[in-house]
Structures are given as C-alpha cells and as structure tokens.
Symmetry: C2
Subunit: 200 residues, 2 copies
Amino acid sequence: MEDNPMADILEATHRALCRHGYADLTIQDIAAESAKSKATIHYHYGTKEALFSAFLDYLYDQYTAQIDAASGETPLKHLHSLLDILLWNPTEPAKQAFQTAILEVKAQAPYDDSVQEQLIEFDAYLSDRLQAIIEAGIQAREFNDEVDPSTAADFLTTIIKGAHTRQVTVNHPPEHLSVPMTDYIQTYLLANDPAEAPPA
Amino acid sequence: MEDNPMADILEATHRALCRHGYADLTIQDIAAESAKSKATIHYHYGTKEALFSAFLDYLYDQYTAQIDAASGETPLKHLHSLLDILLWNPTEPAKQAFQTAILEVKAQAPYDDSVQEQLIEFDAYLSDRLQAIIEAGIQAREFNDEVDPSTAADFLTTIIKGAHTRQVTVNHPPEHLSVPMTDYIQTYLLANDPAEAPPA
DNA sequence: GCCTTTTGACTAACTGGTTAGTAAGTACTG
DNA sequence: CAGTACTTACTAACCAGTTAGTCAAAAGGC
C-alpha cells in the first residue's frame, strides 16, 4: 500500500492475527491479508519466527506509546487515566480479538525464549510507569509516603493482567474492577487525612 | 494400567499436556503416554475435541477438590489457606508446566464455546468459594461488614488469575503478591478496631 | 462363536519453507 | 544516451513433514 512492503506485512500480520488468532495464524493468512504471495512474506522476513519477533517489536512501540498517552494534572488523575486506557478501553469487540491473540502469545512464552524476553519488556514497561506515577504522587504529598512504590506498582500490574485474562477466558467485564480498584487507590495510595476509609 | 482405559487416557492426557503444551498436543503424544495406539484413543473418545472436553471435566473435579481442601479455624485462616494452595503452592516446576498449558487453554476459550463454558465454571467455583469465606467472616464479625462479599471475591479472583498469568508469561514469582495481598486483607477485609492501617 | 478392544496401515488436508524464474527500476559505463 | 549489470519485489509450483481421523483385520475375554 504505502510503498513499504515490510511495514505493510506487519500491518497485515496484525489484521490476520485478530482474524485467525495466534494458534491458527499461517503465513498464508498474512499473505492473503497483505495481498501478497506467501513466498513474498518469506522473502522479506525469512522465517515465521523472525517475522513474529519483528511484529512484537512493532507492537511494543504501539504499547509504550499508548501508555505514554496517559496523562493528568495530578498523579492520581494520571493513574486513573492510565487505568482507563488499559482496562475500560479494550472493551470494544474490535480490540477484544486482539486481547485474545495476545493472551495466546503470552501462553507461548515459556516455549520460546525470544518471545518471553520481549513480553518481559512489555510487563516491565507498564510496571515501571506505574511505579513512576506512584513515586510522583508521594513526592507531591498526594499519595501516602508509607507505600512502597515498587510493591504497589507490581500489585497494580498483576490486577490489570488478571482483568485482561479473565476478560478473554470467561468474558468477565473489566468494569467489575472499577469499584474495588478505586477503593484500593483511595484507601492505600492516597495520603489519607485519617477521616474515613470506605471499603468495597 | 488400572483396567480402566478411559481413565488411563485422561491421565495420559494430563502427562502429555504438561510435556508438550496444549498447542503442540497431538493424539499421538497422548497415545505414547498411555502405551496405547492412536486408533485406540479415537476408539474410546471419538474426536480430539471430545477427549479434551472430557479431560476438562476431569480437571474440574480435581480443581474443586483442591479448593475444598483449604481449611482454617477462622474465616481469615481459611482464606489464607486457600491463597496458599492457589498462589504459593504452584511454584514447583512440576506444576509450572501445567499452569502454562492451562493458560494456553484459557487463550483458546474465545474460539471454542464448549471450552469457554467449562472454564467459566472453574472461574465461578473459585469466586463463589471466596465469597462464601468472606460472608462467613462477616457473620463471625471477623471481617468488616461494610465489605460487599461479591465485589471483594471478584477482586481477589482477578488478582489470583493475574498472578498465574504473570508467572507463566514473564516468570514473575507469585511471592511478590504476599505483602500487598496481606495488607489488602488486613486493611479492607478485617474488622479493624480502628487502631493502625499499615500500607505496603 | 460373539462382542469388545486394540492395532497397523492408510488418507486427505494443511503447513513452513525452497526454488527457479519474471518484471521493473536503478546505477554504471563507454 | 544506449546498453549492461545489478537489485528489489514478487510469484507459481513444489517439497517434506505433520496431523486428525478412518478402516479392515487381528486379539482377547466370556
């Protein structure tokens, strides 16, 4: 399309992945989606494995950009903005197929060191960003300074990943997280003038 | 082995699943693991899909039994016992392969209604048991009666699933959950004589 | 002898990857 | 500018390997 065959193929991979899932993703599917022949895909990327590794790099850039797009006047608002992007946003059925395919890839990580290394970077980026927001909140005296930013960021990361997994496997809407998540932030993270502590 | 070919095949399926993973699980693998021929597997279970559906039923019984094995003198101890079983226990590398295979199955749920229905039962059983424990804790005045048992059980379920996903995909040890999880239970669930509230 | 269980041999479908070859554009050379 | 060499992009045809599922025949128990 845009006179860049390599990029075309990556975009076609994205579409084919959503349409067929990772387990059933064939070079032929990608070829069909890119209006090229199967051999052309091999010509540009060699093996299927090499293509997919390049695709994960391409996804990583999108992922970090999405996370960086979160913003807010205060650390608390920044945090909520990030949660919006990661939890309430991917409810759309269009992105649901993508979430499913990503979970398939995650499940393949233990069988493929290269994939696992790349997924670790995804995970670390999110966790690091969360930690930075929490540290900023503490510094601004908006968050409780007794909170350990690393532990709390790790906890939030686990919750987010759990929501994604349950959404894919049992169709559990991430909206259910809204109340307990807000409560957790309110009670744990915020620098409470010790007035009230409303539980879930 | 035990003069019950059907059961033998299910156990062989378990072993083959751990050894090869779900994506690479073939009837031939199961046959090899059961010391039977491929055709014999088909004779007893028909299609691969039917076999795997029966295998999930078999797993469900094990899963619920494992959850029911949790116990404690008080609801709080009961809850910690259950978390022990679900989080700190599956660290052993033997069970790690199994966790990985299960995540592969979870990722296939959206493509197979039958699998998804079965996985929903797994999820619901855990969430229901957690809810029952929380309700018992409230009734015993050990837990805060302002907590909504359904919401809290759902939150805990999501956290547990998130820990499993991260353990498989990025080798993240569930032990990291210990501190924030204990804090959450302490601060949220427990009926605090409003003395102290130590965050993470 | 009959009914269940088991098996080896086979097939149809599909997959990743290879190869020989085409077409079009670019760079170099005299 | 004409001709040649080289490169990029692409393709149809093909290959080797794998897999779920079938089937007729053999083995085993009662």
